[in-house]
């Protein structure tokens, strides 16, 4: 589960300035005012990263890790998956992946991992510079890949790795699962104290858990505005606006930002302002974005009068938030972080998709089968068939990758999408 990282936004805004201005696409409604604010926040935040190295302990963190626990220690966090998404959006995926492949990493390894390792070996990045980490923090609640990827980093960089191991939820999460995870939190505290040179402050942790929860709940409300017809934003917008909830989670800035965004979206809803001008059909997206195709796809669908109003991906940072509880920070984080979509069984994913389809009045489903992300892509053919049987929602599977465009075939994808459009028109 990744996000278009802040370095991404920073990089993109720079590129936008250099290249010729993009002609406004007549199929879109007025742009969101908040986008400017988002860029400011993230640019400032990432500017700081240049000074973080040496001044503050830096951790590289996976997108699904319980980052709240790092916050009381004042650890500066960097998200390699964000960086991967940025490289994808800047079309640098194949180049960096190839570097990792030259060092013996297999093409079938997730391209976020290959990009990150490619960056480690070559130093190439579109984001200026990433601060070197003092600590690695990973959770396998999104996949097992991160465990091995971060182990490799830990080996190369000779720095400690904290791995938060979340038992997969086959049926129901048990008390022993919870206590197993709580024990891990207890064990990581001394390591964090040592890396940061700060003493653990329980009250501060409670504070960060509370702020993190509020931000996630607000993010959930932001997404819920897309239930309106026409939806005030598209899921392609949301792929960008999810950056703070992923990489600034627990910080007051994220909460403040989503409150501003929420009020803008509510304003749009009350005036009937849609993200696209002619919203005829409403779609759901499954899996991570195809970062190097975002702009093309967003215009393609808008041109058809089709708007993506929900996605399992963006929803992932809102879904399990209600479990968070500042009065029981460790237990509640264990629950919230182990029940995320990729650590949960396919039945619950099916139920989630059914619920989203109904609540957002979805007419069709686009399923990205991502070569990189096995845990997200496994079972999609069954989900597709079951959703067709139960709800008669037409759907299409496109086989691609999140950042490695070598796994993408323009012509095949076109044909599939056009056939989907034809089927939707009946």
């Amino acid at each position: 589960m990744k996000d278009l990282g802040a370095p991404a936004l920073m990089g993109i805004s720079k590129v936008g300035k250099k290249s010729r201005p993009i002609k406004p696409d007549p199929h879109f409604g007025p742009p969101l005012k908040c986008t400017k604010r988002l860029k400011e926040i993230m640019t400032r935040h990432y500017m700081l990263s240049r000074y973080a190295e040496g001044a503050k302990p830096v951790a590289w963190v996976t997108s699904g890790a319980p980052v709240e626990v790092l916050r009381p220690f004042g650890i500066y966090t960097v998200y390699p998956e964000n960086h991967g998404a940025l490289c994808g959006a800047k079309k640098m995926g194949p180049e960096l992946c190839a570097v990792a492949e030259e060092h013996g990493y297999h093409q079938d390894l997730c391209s976020y991992a290959r990009i990150d390792l490619g960056h480690y070996f070559s130093g190439k990045t579109p984001a200026g510079k990433l601060p070197k980490p003092d600590l690695l923090f990973a959770s396998n609640n999104i996949c097992q890949t991160v465990a091995y990827w971060y182990k490799a980093l830990s080996h190369y960089l000779k720095i400690p790795l904290i791995l938060f191991d979340t038992p997969y939820n086959f049926r129901e999460i048990t008390d022993s699962d919870i206590s197993y995870m709580v024990r891990q939190f207890e064990e990581m505290i001394p390591v964090l104290e040592q890396v940061s040179g700060r003493q653990f402050n329980y009250r501060k942790l409670q504070e960060y858990v509370r702020i993190g929860k509020d931000a996630s709940l607000t993010w959930g409300e932001v997404l819920a505005t897309m239930k309106s017809r026409p939806a005030p934003m598209t899921i392609f917008d949301a792929f960008g606006h999810m950056v703070p909830i992923v990489s600034l989670r627990g910080l007051p800035l994220a909460l403040e930002y989503y409150r501003t965004l929420l009020s803008e979206l509510r304003e749009r809803v009350s005036h009937g302002v849609g993200a696209i001008k002619r919203e005829r059909k409403r779609l759901m997206w499954d899996n991570i974005a195809i970062w190097y195709k975002m702009r093309d796809h967003s215009s393609l669908f808008a041109g058809q009068g089709m708007n993506f109003v929900t996605a399992t991906y963006t929803n992932a940072w809102a879904e399990t938030t209600p479990y968070m509880d500042e009065n029981r920070p460790f237990e509640s984080m264990a629950r919230a972080y182990s029940l995320v979509i990729l650590n949960n069984n396919l039945n619950s994913r099916l139920e989630l998709m059914e619920r989203l389809i109904k609540e957002y009045q979805v007419d069709g489903l686009v399923i990205h089968s991502a070569r990189s992300c096995k845990p997200y892509s496994v079972g999609q053919y069954d989900l597709k068939r079951l959703l067709m049987e139960r709800l008669e929602v037409p759907s299409v599977i496109i086989e691609a990758d999140i950042t490695d465009s070598r796994a993408y075939s323009e012509e095949q994808t076109r044909t599939r999408l056009e056939a989907f459009f034809e089927a939707m028109e009946g």
Binding site: Y381, K384, S395, E418, A419, A423
Partner: protein, 259 residues
């Protein structure tokens, strides 16, 4: 009288069907696509027009389909093969609920609804496994003409298992099987089995619904058809010219949309 043309520019063949206003086929043509799809579409159209005994001026509308649909400047509109095969199959066999199309470059399974509409579909991924190209490569390796491989395989006494679905690996497997003197028929049967298993997983993911119609060039291969029928446990409808079903669907769309 008004006439309508459908042009299907495929990876191997370019097919044209001409319909009259009453929806009857009055001319068709199948030629090799070759290197220039625009020329192929012109040539195939000329052939079909000659067969129908009409001139280009008699055509009211032209619809193009197939992977080369973008390179048919003559076309008034373009539709994907998926919509065209569904409609063509439905027109010929109105109880069709499932279409299995195996062409040269891709294979697809389509669930067809009322009026020949596409309800759901799936396509093979970006590789030659499970396509007609796979069979072409193997036929060449075994020096068997394409149109004989099906019947030959039906005469096999046994069957050799081909373990690789990858065209390149399967090719070297075939080479070593030949070297070890395995009968050609048995190797062919194994190859047909491999393609059927591959397509079968697509059939399963869409589900079998109503009667099954097969389209595309591989429907001419009796070896594949027999094994597919075995898997399905029912007979498959096949038109005598399965390669033109896409073009037929395109011509029907031309007639429907503009007639």
């Amino acid at each position: 009288m008004d006439y309508f043309a459908g042009i299907d520019v495929g990876s191997l063949s370019t097919d044209v069907v001409i319909l009259n206003g009453g929806g009857e086929v009055c001319g068709y043509s199948i030629i090799e696509t070759g290197a220039n799809s625009t020329e192929a579409s012109e040539d195939a159209l000329e052939n079909a027009l000659a067969q129908a005994g009409i001139g280009r001026g008699d055509l009211v509308k032209i619809v193009a389909t197939g992977y080369g649909r973008v390179s048919v400047p003559l076309a008034d509109r373009k539709f994907t093969e998926i919509s065209c095969h569904a409609l063509g199959a439905y027109y010929l066999f109105p109880y069709t609920g499932t279409v299995i199309d195996i062409g040269g470059q891709d294979s697809k399974v389509i669930r067809v609804g009322e009026g020949g509409k596409v309800v759901d579909f799936t396509m093979n991924d970006k590789c030659a496994a499970g396509t007609g190209r796979f069979l072409e490569v193997m036929a060449a390796k075994l020096r068997v003409p394409l149109d004989e491989m099906g019947d030959l395989s039906l005469h096999a006494k046994g069957e050799v298992q081909i373990s690789s679905v990858c065209t390149v690996f399967a090719e070297s497997e075939v080479v070593s099987l030949v070297a070890r003197n395995h009968p050609r028929e048995e190797i062919l049967r194994g190859l047909h089995r491999a393609i059927v298993s591959r397509v079968w997983s697509m059939v399963k993911s869409i589900g079998v619904n109503g009667e099954v119609t097969m389209t595309g060039g591989v429907a001419k291969n009796s070896g594949v058809v027999v094994l597919m029928e075995e898997r399905l446990g029912k007979t498959i409808h096949i038109h005598s010219e399965p390669q033109i079903i896409g073009a037929l669907g395109a011509a029907l769309l031309a007639r429907r949309a503009f007639g």
